[in-house]
């Protein structure tokens, strides 16, 4: 227990003392995961809405695939993204491996199905009658879809939280496609693995505490937004 307490104290010391390395790692984690989550929203909200509203053959299969994707193991994503980005790989010419961009890409692959699946659920929970009513009131299809998305925005915040939570806490893919390079692709999770490997358990705990605190703050802010409108 003493070790954990030391770690928590160490976390405050590192942050308050403005340890540049720790700040850089923390900000990079936020930037990469926020970018990946935003991109996942850009892909997932339209895709999820489409899946919820459209009827086409094979729809159940696609939904099953999306639901499976919600539990995609990050390490598997990491492996495939790495192979694609290898110098000899499909996208090798872009020289993206071991860059933050590669990490955003891998995290996007992890987060997109989560956002899609939860958006699908959010839009679907709006009663059919509401939809018919909109159409009866003379709304065009585009207008109806827009209203539905707006109506589902609060549950969609859950999609945002789940997507962000999934990628900021992920280590397998970030380690593989980023390479944990100091000053370039080292994020909170990979730094925690490294410090554990070095036997610097207090630093590792401090990084974990920072990660938990960030995840909490982001979720707290989003929950506040989500719940405020309920009142």
């Amino acid at each position: 227990m003493g070790l954990i307490l030391d770690g928590v104290l160490q976390a405050f010391r590192l942050l308050l003392a403005g340890d540049p390395e720790v700040w850089r790692i923390t900000l990079l984690s936020l930037r990469i995961s926020a970018t990946a989550t935003l991109l996942a929203l850009a892909v997932g909200i339209p895709a999820g809405t489409l899946l919820a509203l459209a009827r086409f053959p094979g729809r159940a299969l696609v939904i099953s695939l999306v639901n499976t994707g919600m539990g995609l193991p990050p390490v598997v994503v990491g492996l495939f993204v790495t192979i694609v980005l290898w110098r000899n790989g499909l996208l090798g010419a872009l020289e993206l491996l071991y860059t933050p961009t590669a990490m955003v890409l891998a995290q996007l692959v992890i987060a997109a199905p989560i956002v899609t699946g939860l958006t699908l659920a959010a839009v679907q929970q709006i009663p059919d009658r509401f939809r018919l009513q909109l159409l009866a009131l003379g709304a065009s299809r585009v207008q109806m879809t827009w209203v539905l998305i707006k109506e589902a925005r609060l549950p969609m915040l859950a999609a945002l939280m789940a997507g962000f939570g999934g990628v900021i806490s992920e280590v397998g893919a970030s380690m593989m496609v980023g390479g944990n390079i100091k000053g370039s692709t080292r994020v909170l999770t990979t730094a925690t693995v490294l410090e554990t490997g070095k036997g610097n358990f207090d630093v590792a705990i401090a990084l974990s505490v920072i990660l938990l605190a960030i995840t909490f703050l982001v979720n707290w802010a989003l929950t506040w937004i989500q719940q405020r409108r309920r009142v």
Binding site: I32, A34, R87, G92, Y98, G197
Partner: protein
């Protein structure tokens, strides 16, 4: 979409964090190396020094020696720093790696529980110590991850004529640090490089029992990647980093590395020496 403004804010500065794809590939050198060089902290000293002096940027990929060489053989790295001489020579013979040169050494030690149930303490030969472990069925934790440490351990078992097996032989499949923690928890024997052992000394109750036997020498070599391995190998950059490691200045840095933290140097520089010298 107000709820997302927080995210927008965070992501605003993202493009700054994401450098454009390196089009000038010759300015980046990928060094594939072992976890021990990273975990000891040596590369965190050497790499920035090299970047500053050469103007090149280095991407250090720390994995097990087996993977480090495998990546290089596929042309996914430009230069490799490894510590498994027999395996390295094989890659050189196959033409995958070029110009293998010794850089430094440290040594492996066999550690185990204080009460030493297998009575190996002070055994001069590492192989004899392993024979005793097998004969008494004493728990032994192996890396089991194709790292340089694992390769050395397997070579010793082979020399001892023993095929280690469960239940007393435990494969962790993890890095040295995690393996030390497992050995400590199970009160088991294991083989570790001295640098990692020193880093963990405070946390584990397993003293050194066998050391300073010739087969326990841990020799690190640098090799350049054959440009024929892949279309985008930065041969010039790889060679620049390899050459640089053998300069007197860098060898001097290696000689004193770790003294401030552990009271002893972690590596001995040996540029210019050959395998036969040991």
């Amino acid at each position: 979409m107000r709820p997302f403004s927080l995210f927008l804010l965070l992501a605003m500065s993202a493009p700054a964090a994401l450098p454009a794809p390196a089009t000038a590939q010759s300015s980046t050198v990928i060094l594939s190396t072992t976890t021990s060089t990273q975990d000891s902290g040596l590369l965190e000293v050497l790499v920035p020094m090299f970047e500053k002096q050469s103007g090149l940027s280095v991407k250090t990929i720390s994995v097990g020696t087996g993977q480090a060489l495998a990546l290089a053989a596929r042309g996914e790295a430009d230069v490799t720093l490894a510590h498994a001489p027999a395996l390295e020579r094989k890659f050189v013979e196959d033409g995958k790696m070029l110009n293998r040169r010794l850089v430094m050494y440290n040594d492996f030690v066999i550690i185990g529980p204080e009460d030493d149930p297998a009575r190996i303490k002070g055994t001069p030969k590492a192989v004899d110590a392993l024979k005793k472990l097998a004969a008494t069925g004493s728990r032994f934790v192996s890396r089991g991850d194709k790292s340089g440490t694992h390769a050395l351990e397997l070579a010793l078992w082979k020399q001892a004529g023993i095929e280690p097996a469960a239940p007393w032989y435990i494969e962790s499949g993890q890095g040295m640090g995690a393996t030390l923690s497992i050995a400590n928890d199970r009160r088991a024997y294991t083989i570790t490089d001295r640098a990692t052992f020193l880093a963990f000394q405070k946390r584990i109750a397993l003293p050194i029992l066998v050391e300073k036997d010739r087969p326990l020498l841990n020799i690190y070599s640098v090799m350049e990647v054959n440009p024929a391995n892949g279309p985008r190998v930065n041969a010039a950059g790889g060679k620049a980093l390899a050459d640089w490691m053998l300069t007197p200045e860098v060898q001097g840095v290696i000689r004193t590395f770790g003294v401030d933290k552990y009271g002893q140097a972690l590596f001995v520089p040996i540029a210019g020496k050959k395998d036969e010298d040991f």
